[in-house]
Symmetry: C2
Subunit: 171 residues, 2 copies
């Protein structure tokens, strides 16, 4: 089971690719798609879409996992984030991949075991869980965390263990 | 000059296609892409993208105009709107079309001559300006209005008349 995790953002979109082999998680790639803040919005969105499309073509993931956002600081930043998030979801669905969404609480619980974990804890735990040589960039680490969350809920669902968590994860 | 105007929305995305021939505006098509509120978000976004792609392939517009949104009621609705708006911008840029954005103030000023015009006034004026047999659906009328705004600012820019308005329109 190969998973592409995406942490969309108007300036920086993190991505992380992992393989799940039974209980093992194997890191394949992670990185950040950084757009120029001065460039036209349509061009920036096209860059995000094109890079995600390339990653899907290169790595052939079987599922895409995207962080679900409930709270944004204000309407203006929510609108900007929505643009990038729409692009991420579209990239998955147009590649005919199942697209799962997880809340930050689900992601943090799955990776750190604590729903209010800090960014640095996510970076440390993704490094540990995936045996990375160094901590990943912040958004890339978040993307890896979403992918791990998907692997986790998928495995649980497959074993019919703790079904309440599995169903929450797949909602 | 053929223009596709888009009024993106999380539930309903309006579109309007017009031809500009000198001072004349000719209506080609308008309508609303309505998504099922119960369907997965990624599928709804894919429906919007696919329909816009089909319209571009069928009508071959030379430009896309999308309403720019500054204010949303709250972060949650701004986020939803952002998803659909990102899709609209992407559909234009991936068809290699110039994508222009106009504020509601610019659109209303161009179509009704009054920046605080009501929705019904937009519907009435687009009907009059384009000699429609009946008023268009609300979102479709807004999309036609964005297209008219683009035609207007483009014509002004071409004639180097009122450059301050033209440059505002093309920003």
């Amino acid at each position: 089971m190969r998973i592409l995790g995406i942490d969309p953002g108007s300036r920086t979109t993190g991505y992380g690719l992992i393989d799940q082999q039974g209980n093992r998680l194997i890191h394949l790639d992670n990185g950040a798609i950084i757009t120029r803040s001065g460039a036209p919005l349509a061009d920036r969105l096209n860059l995000i879409y094109t890079r995600l499309e390339e990653l899907i073509q290169e790595f052939h993931p079987q599922a895409v996992a995207v962080e679900r956002v409930f709270v944004a600081r204000n309407p203006a930043s929510a609108l900007k984030l929505g643009h990038a998030r729409g692009i991420a979801l579209l990239a998955g669905v147009r590649a005919n991949l199942p697209v799962a969404e997880y809340t930050a609480l689900q992601v943090k619980s799955a990776v750190v075991g604590y729903g209010r974990a800090a960014k640095t804890q996510i970076q440390q735990m993704t490094r540990t869980l995936l045996s990375l040589p160094e901590i990943a960039q912040e958004d890339a680490a978040d993307a890896l965390a979403v992918a791990i969350c998907h692997a986790h809920s998928h495995r649980l669902a497959g074993k019919i263990m703790r079904p309440e968590l599995a169903s929450r994860g797949q909602r």
